[in-house]
Amino acid sequence: MSRVSKVLVANRGEIACRILRTLRRLGIPSVAVYHAQDADSLAVREADEAVELRGEPPVAAYLDIAQIVAACERTGADAVHPGFGFLSEKAAFAEALGAAGIAFIGPSPHAIRVMGDKIESKRLARACGVSTIPGGADEIEDAEHAVRVAHELGYPVIIKASAGGGGKGMRIACDDAQCRDGYVRASSEAQASFGDARVFIERYIERPRHIEIQVLADAHGHVVHLFERECSIQRRHQKVIEEAPSPFLDDATREAMGAQAVALARAVDYRSAGTVEFIVDSQRNFHFLEMNTRLQVEHPVTEMVTGLDIVAEQIRIARGEPLGYAQTDLAIRGHAIEARLYAEDADAGFLPATGQVHLLRLPRGEGLRIEHGLVQGQSISAAFDPMLAKLVAHGSDRAQAIARLAQGLRDTVLLGTVTNADFLARVLAHPAFAAGDTHTGFIGEHRAALAAAAPHEEQALALLAAAALAQRHVDPRFACPEPLAAIGEWRN
């Protein structure tokens, strides 16, 4: 087993900073990697050492296995934490590290490979008694095959890319024509996005909730789950608000989902932290979606309700330590909600925004945790994912967590680009959200109610006055005294 005495963080932004914080807390020396665009980033500042990677476009730097292995060798790092995204679910990366004698803080290449293939993972899930959505057993050969499968399942159906993710290569069909068209489009999108045109068809669950189970498994066969996270609030098939526990699950469903997630993890000899995603219908029937073989963006909500540091657990597991606790030692305390702050214009179809962080004042408050990698003055470029930060609030109950998160969003001052902070606050304030009446189509269904309200008259006046007074060349000290102004325009 590996010593994990010095860890290279193969990521950037908020997740690199979050991993570095745990490394510091554990007294483990750290190495950051960065592309020139991130040379002055918070992650570079917070690491003990940082190594530049080259790449064009910039994301290529963080995807370059050979450069990252070389950076480990150069700095003496004997372990790598991949974070999420980038190389975190590339079996070849785990293998390359293994070949160089470097520990990958994550599961085995085998587990990554099996769970990375949606058709393969679903076969395995069925084989070990995990509830799956009807359909999806076969790769679809052509449009007519798609229609035959759809008839067996009954409409509506969903056509998905086998190698997919993030909503790409996904189509919903309610009749034969949509099914044929959806097959062609999903398959060509899958080829373009993933280099793999294989698609499959499943029964489409209407108004589904996205609920996932966090699992932890050590190298000695101990597997526990850390309960669920509900991540139903999504835009463009990406999560924006996540919470634990789900306001919808009862104890029996929670226990059944947890048991199935643990069974699936055992079936692939899983090691490290992983997440088994389910969709849940209005009758609390749940169906396996996929397993993510890495740390999730939304892991902090689980940390806040269980008191565990999941990154620290991953490091202990990579060192070969046993978990040291059983399922019955774990409990949910209070409620936690996370909101993802994106540089995007929620009122213009969630179009990504760029800009510069001219002013940054992040909130503090009881039960509030902020994950970010921002520094004032930095550029927000289109070169990377537009997620800026995560705000996570914990409360003794759901209402308190919502109230604290909403206050945190109102107090988040990030000027110089467009963010979705106010949109997120509007979702939290919606009565259907407060009632826990959530599903993955929530944002689309409530689009009108979630639209930005124009400032009222007094607010608009105050804003105009602030803008007029703040402009340096119209500073009141330089403006003309009133008698002159009355005469007319004095200077531009």
């Binding site: 179009l351 990504p352 925004a353 760029t354 800009g355 510069q356 001219h358 002013l359 004042r361 470029s381 289109a382 070169a383 969003l409 109102r410 107090d411 001052v413 990030l414 000027l415 110089g416 680009t417 467009v418 963010t419 902070a421 106010d422 606050a425 124009a454 400032p455 007094e458 607010q459 608009a460 006046l461 105050a462 804003l463 105009l464 006055a465 602030a466 803008a467 007029a468 007074l469 703040a470 402009q471 340096r472 119209v474 009141p476 000290r477 403006a479 003309c480 005294p481 009133e482 102004a485 009355a486 325009e489 004095w490 200077r491 531009n492």
Partner: protein, 164 residues
Amino acid sequence: MKREIALGGAVHPVTLMRRGDAATVDVAGRAHRCSLASCGEGEHLLRMDGKTWRVWIATHRNRVWVHAFGRAFELEVLDPLDRAARASGAGDCTVAAPMPGAVVSVGAMEGERVRKGQSLMVIESMKMQTEIAAPRDGIVESVAVKAGASFDRGATLLTLKAGD
């Protein structure tokens, strides 16, 4: 001094007059007594007609961002000369990015005479390619971006000057 300030798609004429430490801001013919006191680090106390709000302000060129009432607003202080030139359709003209993205290719060269509607460059945003066409006849004065460069919404891509 008269200004036009854009907020949420509407343009408001605003006149600012100094009066001692405070100022009078005249919006749409009605005067409001205002002051803005800096508390440091971008934080300000904005007073208007006997009310006070805590606001955060950042400025960059003619853009002003104000965080107030629990959310952020972007305002633009319009230059009267720019607006006059824009309104007349003559003189120099800036071709601005309609959305953030990256330049795929640049078809126009500096000094080139272009016709209205002619393709000047191709940009990519959200994995969609869009042609940027000349808004009117003119001569390409400068090309502000190169192929591969990324830009924000509203960034200057290219400027045109009058044809003669």
